[in-house]
């Protein structure tokens, strides 16, 4: 391979990106060196095993990826705003919609939610950390390096261009030559390791590390949603792992699992992809449901309506999410019986979701509602998500789907589900738990601007796409003719897209503004309405051991019970005992670096490099296996000092 093939060349947009990436890297290196922050970065962040810090790093990466995926989206919207546009060529457009989809689902939505789960769940169940803190760091670093590997494709080697679903035979060597598609396979594979480990980690954490008295049916709804999500992850992600591995074998080693030659089955890829892909939809939406439940209950000052119905709805969804996958390819032609069965299962899965919508409405009924920004996002969610859900039931009818499929109607539908469901939840959750992470709230006034601009932009962007779809505009086309008459609605949609972009900028400004000017919180219950244990900590940002004394839970909504009983949350000196905590470790960071080397080598089919990287990974595994370190104790003096207890 020549060097001019190694780097992506020939497009001014890419050169611009090269320059900005270079400048950003130089800027960061300069900042770290000039302010002598290297040591701080290493000890406080890169080697941490603290669930709160890992959560913050997850969220920060996700916001970064939201920016990248958002820019991709805006580039697409610019190209489509006018007919016969020459802004992007077809290959570049294909690359952008592929990276947009992949990044938004795998590297934005999931890490954002997993980040919030990381920060909140151990606090909500009264634990000091997750069950396997070291593994948690491995999870984060494999996700992060997978995301970086995927993003490097942009400037080195070329991006994948077969769509985020990577259907075969399009994604095969014949139709997608070069390293692009390999980036997709390896990036997702490495990040997938992290997700699977997170699934195991939080499953064990929630089942085994709850505070005394917190029975399963006293767990907050968000904890329940996280538990169900982790079960789905543990069962669904191995399917993706296997499917990706098989396609990697096809592309790198000449196997014929999904190829057209050699008795491969191309549609088996679509089948396996959606066997993972549909549960994946619930992986990104159930934690969102959990967060909305917490927020709506908190700001309605009422306990959640129909708690058990909420839980059972989620449990049913967990099982059911594995039985609807064929609705993603009704037009593959599996016949009437298959399509009818999956049509019906798809419509049925709407029922538990409907139950949840009504439960949220009834939670608000006769509640004393505070219209804070997290609550606004939750209300916006209910309205917009119902549009997504109803159009989903339309698509669920196999016969009608032959008309809708592969059009912008579908595109609009899943954006209504994923943005109104997941992205709204990410914003709502981030604002709601922001004081738990940083000790101050995001500015509410600016936050309301973000909400309204984003919501209006969102609807202006995607409502026209429903109509475009019904007018027959296919998805994944890089341009269309003026004669089609799709120009005006596309322009309108682009305007909406840019409004969402503006909202994102206001949000970023809000981060800066609130960092400078927001009032610092001095109690653990920042909103004054907390119902669950994460708000019962003695300081706004909990110390690294979370709770000086493990709380005892007597009922659902434990903090409400404590407030009613006038329990003094300040720990007594006589109760303070030394606390066992895990040590930091740099090994996960190095392990992910080796994963990067291995992944990069395999992408370019430089097998020597892949082998070197994998040997490195095994060495880090061995180092960990023979590490006698069993953590350390936080002394009673240190706890007393942290909790400001006078002796």
């Amino acid at each position: 391979m020549k060097w001019d093939e190694f780097f992506v060349t020939g497009d001014p947009l890419i050169y611009g990106a090269d320059v900005s990436i270079g400048l950003t890297v130089i800027g960061i290196l300069f900042y770290l060196t000039y302010f002598k922050k290297w040591q701080w970065l290493w000890t406080e962040w890169l080697t941490t095993v603290d669930h709160k810090k890992l959560g913050i790093m997850y969220i920060a990466s996700a916001v970064l990826m939201l920016f990248r995926g958002g820019v991709d989206a805006l580039l697409m919207r610019v190209q489509l705003a006018t007919p016969d546009s020459k802004f992007l060529d077809s290959q570049h457009y294909n690359e952008i919609f592929t990276t947009h989809g992949t990044i938004m689902i795998i590297f934005m939505a999931m890490p954002f939610l997993i980040g919030l789960i990381n920060v909140v769940i151990p606090l909500q169940i009264g634990a000091r950390d997750v069950a396997f803190p070291y593994l948690n760091a491995v999870s984060f670093w494999t996700f992060f390096i997978g995301a970086m590997l995927f993003n490097v494709s942009f400037v080195i080697g070329g991006s994948p261009s077969a769509g985020w679903t990577s259907y075969m035979p399009l994604a095969g060597n014949e139709l997608s030559p070069g390293p692009g598609q390999n980036y997709y396979l390896l990036g997702l594979q490495i990040a997938g390791i992290g997700t699977l480990l997170t699934g195991i980690n939080f499953l064990v954490t929630i089942l085994k590390m709850r505070a005394p008295g917190m029975t399963l049916f006293r767990m907050p709804v968000f904890t329940w949603s996280a538990l169900i999500t982790m079960i789905i992850i543990v069962f669904a992600f191995p399917i993706l792992t296997v499917a990706l591995a098989l396609m990697t074998f096809d592309r790198l080693f000449g196997a014929h699992f999904f190829t057209l030659q050699g008795a491969g089955m191309d549609m088996l890829w679509a089948n396996l992809f959606w066997l993972w892909g549909h549960p994946e939809v619930y992986i990104v939406v159930l934690p969102a449901f959990g967060m909305f439940s917490e927020i709506i209950s908190t700001f309605s000052r009422k306990t959640i309506f129909g708690y058990k119905a909420m839980i059972w709805a989620m449990i049913i969804i967990a099982g059911y999410s594995f039985m609807v996958w064929v609705h993603h390819f009704f037009t593959m032609g599996s016949g009437e019986l298959v399509n009818s069965v999956f049509s019906i299962t798809t419509m049925i899965i709407g029922i538990p979701t409907g139950i949840k919508i009504f439960n949220w409405l009834f939670t608000m009924y006769k509640g004393k509602i505070s219209f804070t920004t997290p609550m606004l996002w939750s209300l916006g969610f209910i309205v917009n998500f119902v549009i997504g859900g109803v159009t989903g039931v339309m698509l669920a009818m196999a016969a009608a789907d032959y008309q809708y499929h592969n059009t912008y109607f579908l595109v609009a539908h899943f954006h209504y589900v994923l943005i109104a469901g997941t992205v709204f939840a990410c914003f709502a959750g981030l604002i709601f738990w922001f004081p738990k992470m940083f000790g101050y709230k995001l500015n509410e006034r600016i936050g309301k601007w973000v909400f309204w601009v984003f919501n209006i932009g969102f609807n202006v962007c995607f409502i026209p796409q429903f109509i475009l779809g019904l007018d027959g505009m296919p998805r994944r086309v890089y341009t269309y003719s003026a004669a089609s008459g799709w120009g005006n609605l596309n322009m309108l949609s682009t305007v909406g897209g840019f409004l969402m972009g503006v909202a994102f900028l206001i949000l970023v400004y809000n981060f800066y503004f609130s960092f400078r000017y927001s009032e610092r919180e001095n109690t653990g219950d920042s909103w004054g309405l907390g119902r669950t244990l994460e708000w019962s900590t003695t300081s706004a940002v909990p110390p690294h051991y979370n709770f000086a004394i493990t709380p005892t839970v007597k009922s659902f909504d434990p903090l409400i019970q404590m407030k009613r009983d006038n329990v003094d949350l300040k720990p007594k000196i006589k109760d303070i005992k030394k606390i066992h905590m895990p040590d930091n470790s740099g090994v996960p960071f190095f392990m992910s670096a080796f994963f990067f080397i291995a992944g990069f080598g395999l992408v370019f089919e430089w097998f020597w490099m892949g082998i070197v990287g994998l040997i490195g990974v095994f060495i880090t595994l061995i180092i960990r296996s023979f590490d006698p370190n069993e953590g350390y104790y936080v002394s009673e003096e240190e706890i007393k000092e942290t909790e400001r207890l006078t002796v």
Partner: protein, 139 residues
Amino acid sequence: MANPQDSLSREHGGIPWKHVIGYLLSIILTALALWVTFETGFSTRTILIIIFIFAFLQAALQLLMFMHMTESSEKKSKLTGQTQTGNILFAAFIAIVIVAGSVWVMSAGHAEHDHHKMDSKTHDMKMDGDMKMDHGDHK
């Protein structure tokens, strides 16, 4: 964050032979499957039957050696027992859905008279049919 006293190394002590043996047997079964496929002259059908047997053996082996299948529930609470039973049942259910569901979806309808098990000449013709996404049922 287990208490250091309960940590795995103290509980079991020494080399975890059970895991080592399970690991070695897994590798041997995998290598045997590869050998049968590449080095023997059996028919495809026979090879499939043999490697399926190896696969089930290996699954059983891993459940026994790694997944604590044989541990009694005496030491555990009722909830843990229930969770484990539920887990196994759910896992079996999902496995059936994935395998039987895939076979059904991939072999029903149009796929039924459109296998890829044919020589390359007729194959090219079939390829066109496959790539056309929008055709309806052939029946």
